[in-house]
Symmetry: C2
């Protein structure tokens, strides 16, 4: 590959408006966890799909690497690289239009640079729901959200980013434009390139726009926190809830005692309605006009008590109280940051295996040293945030040398349970080795063949997902 | 490519049990509409994934074409070919095991040869729902269902086959085995090969097993038939229903007057509760334990009456009556067969465009000749069965010479509306020309590149989807 030289930039200037060329700001070379950094780059911010195509065509011709850049919120280093000849950093920030919102069609078409929260708000304004909800939604852009197949708290009910995308427009590595914007629910005409580009982290092309699925807004919402006997009881409670309430169960979050301890220690203003049970769950419902969420949750609690699944519980009596419950859940990551984790793990295991994983993992970690574990997450889809912290009185710096051993131990255990070492964040540059270690050989070989077929020069986000 | 010669078969016999080798029965060379026929083939029915791999490896080495064969119910000729050197016909019928049903995990793993109805029944026996429902479910096998991304009446609520599959095991064109069986809901580790194989109609490999998603069974069900002012009112009614009832709307089927006329003419025992309205809809609900479907439908009717969307309606007062309503809907294809269509079209258009399509298409067809049109289908996902019949007193044979003109006129109009000329049946061999005519050039180029990368010898179902 070749660097994006001054001559390369000059040649592009002849075909692109001046506004495309941006001074490189340090933020394009950083990522949120500070573990990866870019060295340099030619920052380009095209305003149209055609301009993206012009850039990619030129890069393919000159064999210059291209790093697509969305909101910069990714947690696995997919958006920065210091290991390449000076790349084009192609930011989608100027392609942020909501092209169309159609409530009759239950679809909206947005450009890749649209901020997720803006997309949610545009759906709400049209009386519809775009359900994808993640912590970074105020700055994450929809192209990155799709390229990493983001997850979040509502996957149980509505699926990942993948399931919420009806069609994509993309610039492929040769600069051709894939015209795949469509609201069609049924369209069996050839290979599904949409799903190949979603989750490919910019290595097979650049998503420039997407048609997204809109859903009915739940009319009546409710929430409860229930203390459960143990993680197995949490899963039985989830299935009991879904048997009784069906798809109305929007979220089902597991909360471990350590998270509540951290809240009490670092954020004493956060109300803990049940005190600090060893295991509890936050259940969120969204029902139709004739539903009664509070009644449904009270009935659920009674049925769960009969089955000895729960020992305490409280149902939100108002929307304000429901917000309080969510504030508790959403404050846990902030409390984690105040304590300072040694190693964080974005993992999933089969739902039925969660109790066994939770029972077994502490011994694996204790074999490495004395740590505290905060286990919480989206139990409804098997996705745990399994984070390891220093014992009281120590800091993360004391354990820097043990991080790799902890990560490997946790990932090995996850893999042994048939789980995934990247549930919702992706591979990026951080987990390329994990993919090689745990990935199916036939899958890796097919991935490499597809990459070589669509991007023979290897210019699209080189080093992400697959080793360059 | 080379034929599956006697020497090729003999070499395989050394590595495969005798039971793998079957006498070729005529049914493996036929398809339901009788428009395509196979000429010959070496029929192999392996019992294990390893045996499938052995066959494919040998075929790849000898460059012998392989046609995967499921239930043989496909409607686009994907399962037969007369244009190839004698192929291996690889039937999955002996791999029909339900490997595992796990209600806690809400997942089941089945072999590709399992009959769809058997899969549904196994889910039901475990207290769960596998919602995919198609006319051919008594003989369609799950490998074919996935390879063609089958649709059906419940796509509105539950999605196509694609959305109901969590993972696949497949033999790739080089004979390697992709081990992708997994119940994980969140797993962002590299390209999604599952979605590439689903809908590829056996051209990129052979799905040998799948992990399927199970759902809660609706506790209380109900149905109504309502006469609507026009197709636009049907769509407004659908959105009104979803605004009020959310995901509880399981199906929403449009029924045109012609279909009711055909029923009255050919199947007079079928009860028509509202007589023969010009346009009517069948609405099916499945709610949780606290829902009241009949009440919800009555409230919906009242709200729709206020908005002048409906002019008549009846809500099922019992499960038997609900079955009657569905019997009406499901008898329409049988009535169609008795009348005998000149040309049938499996199309979809954006939901919002349905009224304009329905308004415009008759003139396009009338320009070709004097025909009757039966338009019905899954309006909730834009999927219409738009079928053209002879005028009374004439037969389909009188119009054989006009079939291509009708098909082209309908497909051109569908394409102009941003629709799909294959909503749920696939491309097979029937619509290869349509894909070339209407498909996006960048998509076709990428499909060809992927096909060449994964199947360089071009042995996997040659001539289906892409011209060989």
């Amino acid at each position: 590959m070749q660097p994006a030289s001054g001559a390369f930039a000059d040649a592009l200037r002849a075909n692109l408006p001046d506004a495309t060329f941006r001074d490189l700001d340090a933020r394009y070379l950083e990522e949120p966890r500070g573990r990866w950094a870019g060295a340099d780059g030619l920052l380009l911010a095209p305003a149209t799909t055609d301009e993206v195509a012009t850039i990619v065509r030129a890069a393919a011709g000159a064999r210059v690497p291209v790093i697509p850049y969305g909101g910069g919120t990714g947690l696995v280093g997919g958006q920065v690289s210091a290991d390449l000849p000076r790349p084009v950093i192609l930011s989608l920030e100027r392609m942020a239009r909501i092209r169309d919102v159609d409530p009759t069609e239950n679809a909206m078409t947005v450009e890749a640079g649209a901020i997720l929260q803006t997309v949610q708000e545009a759906a709400t304004a049209a009386g519809r729901l775009f359900p994808l909800t993640i912590a970074a939604q105020g700055s994450a852009r929809i192209g990155g959200v799709l390229s990493t197949n983001a997850g979040g708290v509502n996957v149980l009910r509505y699926g990942n980013a993948r399931e919420l995308c009806l069609g994509v427009e993309a610039v492929l590595p040769d600069g051709s434009v894939l015209h795949g914007l469509s609201p069609l629910r049924k369209n069996n005409t050839g290979y599904d390139l949409r799903h190949l580009l979603i989750g490919a982290e910019g290595t097979l092309g650049i998503i420039t726009a997407a048609t997204l699925k809109l859903l009915p807004r739940p009319v009546r919402t409710g929430a409860a926190i229930m203390a459960v006997r143990d993680p197995a009881a949490a899963i039985d409670l989830l299935n009991l809830a879904r048997d009784r309430i069906g798809e109305g169960v929007s979220a089902f979050e597991l909360i471990g005692r350590t998270g509540l301890d951290f809240l009490a220690e670092t954020m004493p203003d956060v109300r803990l309605p049940l005190g600090r049970p060893v295991w509890s769950v936050l259940i969120d419902l969204g029902l139709g006009a004739s539903g009664d969420p509070a009644q449904a949750l009270e009935d659920l609690f009674a049925a769960a008590l009969d089955r000895d699944l729960v020992c305490d519980g409280t149902v939100a009596q108002s929307d304000a109280q429901r917000q309080d419950f969510w504030h508790l859940r959403e404050s846990i990551p902030a409390a984690n940051r105040k304590i300072g984790s040694v190693s964080s793990h974005d993992i999933s295991v089969p739902i039925a295996a969660i109790p066994r994983f939770i029972a077994k993992a502490p011994a694996v970690i204790a074999a490495i040293g004395d740590f505290r574990i905060n286990c919480f997450g989206h139990v409804g889809d098997g996705n745990l945030h399994y984070n390891v912290f220093p014992a009281p009185g120590r800091s993360r710096d004391d354990h820097e040398h043990q991080r790799d051993a902890i990560k490997t131990a946790v990932h090995d255990l996850v893999h042994a349970f048939g789980g995934s070492v990247s549930a919702e964040h992706g591979i990026g540059r951080l987990k390329v080795g994990d993919l090689e270690r745990y990935g199916d050989p036939a899958k890796l070989a097919a991935m490499r063949a597809i990459k070589a077929a669509l991007d023979p020069a290897g210019i699209m986000n080189p080093g992400a997902v697959l080793r360059g």
